[in-house]
Symmetry: C2
Subunit: 301 residues, 2 copies
């Protein structure tokens, strides 16, 4: 049994005539006759009583017509839904973002994303790198914005922008007067986030692997860390996009002499079929961040 045959039956029932029905189906009348007969034999039921003049549906046909209409309607629904889904730049897009990036990047890119990809419903998901990778691999995310390299051959990524680190100091700090701060100098009284934040490891690495020297703040956000620094508990190293928040907290920011920083990339499963959506999102974000990169380069000169 074939969906095509079911449509044939509906056409005959509607037109009450093989010839017109065949025309409506875009096939020849003999084809329709043969197909209907085959279907009747397959079902073991005579569907139409062929009289010299008219073709009348059998009572058996009447009993079946409801289900036939149902099947054809469901098939049409499949086509309709598929037509809706065809655009890869439409529909839900679950995007993971690390916590040290989300609060500062999202306000910048939400409006451009909605303007460039109006049909794409972006659902942000904020969590640490490992959790995001896990959700990515279990198909709970479509893509993720990370500051680390690709994690394996099953995931692929594309660099979006470079984010320089900045030294964040209390105004009264002895280094606050410098134009530029050396990474190693921060190591002495640096505060870092809890384990699991990629920024913690990268900050410590930038400062020459000061190791256990820095105090670790458990269960704290970058925002809390800024407040701690402002209160004079130490210094820290922040990603460039958090500069605004740091200044609001009353901190002094200084570029780093070795130009330490991190690379933000968008990562997705190698087999993910909506490649176009990933690349469109990446491009919009990268384009939005391009002026910042030029400004930073200019400022560093």
């Amino acid at each position: 049994m074939n969906l095509r045959d079911l449509r044939y039956i509906l056409a005959i029932a509607e037109h009450g005539q093989f010839s017109r029905a065949a025309e409506a189906c875009g096939i020849s009348q003999p084809t329709l006759s043969v197909q209907v007969r085959k279907l009747e034999e397959a079902l073991g039921v005579t569907l139409f009583e062929r009289g010299g003049k008219s073709v009348v549906p059998t009572e058996a046909c009447d009993r079946l017509l409801g289900h036939v209409r149902g099947a054809v309607a469901e098939a049409d629904a499949i086509l309709a839904v598929a037509r809706d889904l065809r655009d890869p730049l439409a529909g839900r897009f679950r995007l993971g973002i690390i916590p040290t990036l989300a609060p500062y990047l999202l306000p910048l890119v939400f409006a451009p994303l909605r303007a460039a990809l109006p049909a794409l419903e972006i659902e942000p998901w904020e969590d640490q790198t490992l959790a995001l990778l896990e959700r990515l691999r279990t198909h709970q995310l479509d893509a993720a914005l990370l500051a680390t390299e690709e994690d394996g051959p099953d995931l692929v990524g594309e660099a979006l922008f470079e984010e320089p680190f900045l030294a964040a100091l209390p105004p009264e700090h002895r280094l606050a007067g410098r134009e530029v701060v050396a990474e190693a100098e921060l190591a002495q009284d640096i505060l870092v986030l809890a384990d699991g934040h990629c920024l913690r490891d990268q900050a410590l690495a930038a400062c020459g692997q000061a190791g256990v020297l820095g105090s670790t703040l458990r269960s704290a956000s970058l925002s809390t860390l800024l407040n701690m620094v402002a209160a004079g508990y130490g210094t820290t190293l922040i990603p460039g996009l958090a500069a605004g928040a740091a200044q609001d907290a009353g901190l002094v920011l200084r570029p780093l002499s070795a130009r330490a920083g991190r690379c933000i990339r968008i990562v997705w499963r190698a087999g993910f079929p909506r490649r176009a959506a990933v690349e469109a999102v990446g491009e919009v974000i990268a384009a939005r961040l391009r002026p910042f990169a030029e400004g930073a380069a200019a400022g560093a000169v």
Copy 2:
């Protein structure tokens, strides 16, 4: 798009794996791969994300799965209903019967019909010949029991049994003493049914076309006619199966010298597909009536 493809999709969604799904569908794995890819291209939607290890349904696939299940379920329903309908000796069977036959034949044949064709739901429809022919032609009846010849090439019929006419007389009638009554003798004071009853025309014809001689009873049934005769208004000619009712009314019955009678036949549309049901019904009725015919022949000797 094909129902088969939809079943393939369901199998993959269920097994999470092409190989097992192909096995479950009874096809080879390459066939399944090709068909799924074709369907994906036809729909313009990627349905499954093929990873090295596992196959995961796309979100688009999830959105479609409901309709896919619906379509397959309706298709299965078609097959199931068809299986139920396959037996031509099952289901509703609308049988027209003329009024001068129905009350006397039906009590005889109902039980045998139910015994021989338990799945056949016989719906009797009592009306005059012309009305039955009309309903037959408009597919409102499946067959009819008539006492007349076929009405045209679009209808075919088969003789079931011969029903002799009998002279019905009041006990005090001058002909009541005869062993046998001649048809022509009845003509003098015969009562007949209203126009439209085939029995009226046949009775008048049997009596030598006495023409307008006989009184016509409008809007009366054969039962009423018997009561009229019993009350002494005249004589009449009744079909053999009504003998019991006539005797109950106190009438004297006498065979006719010329053996006038009528032939009961079952009539159906030439194109009617449930030929087997018609013939089965006819055979049961004919078999039930066979002892009567033999008895009548024996009695006439």
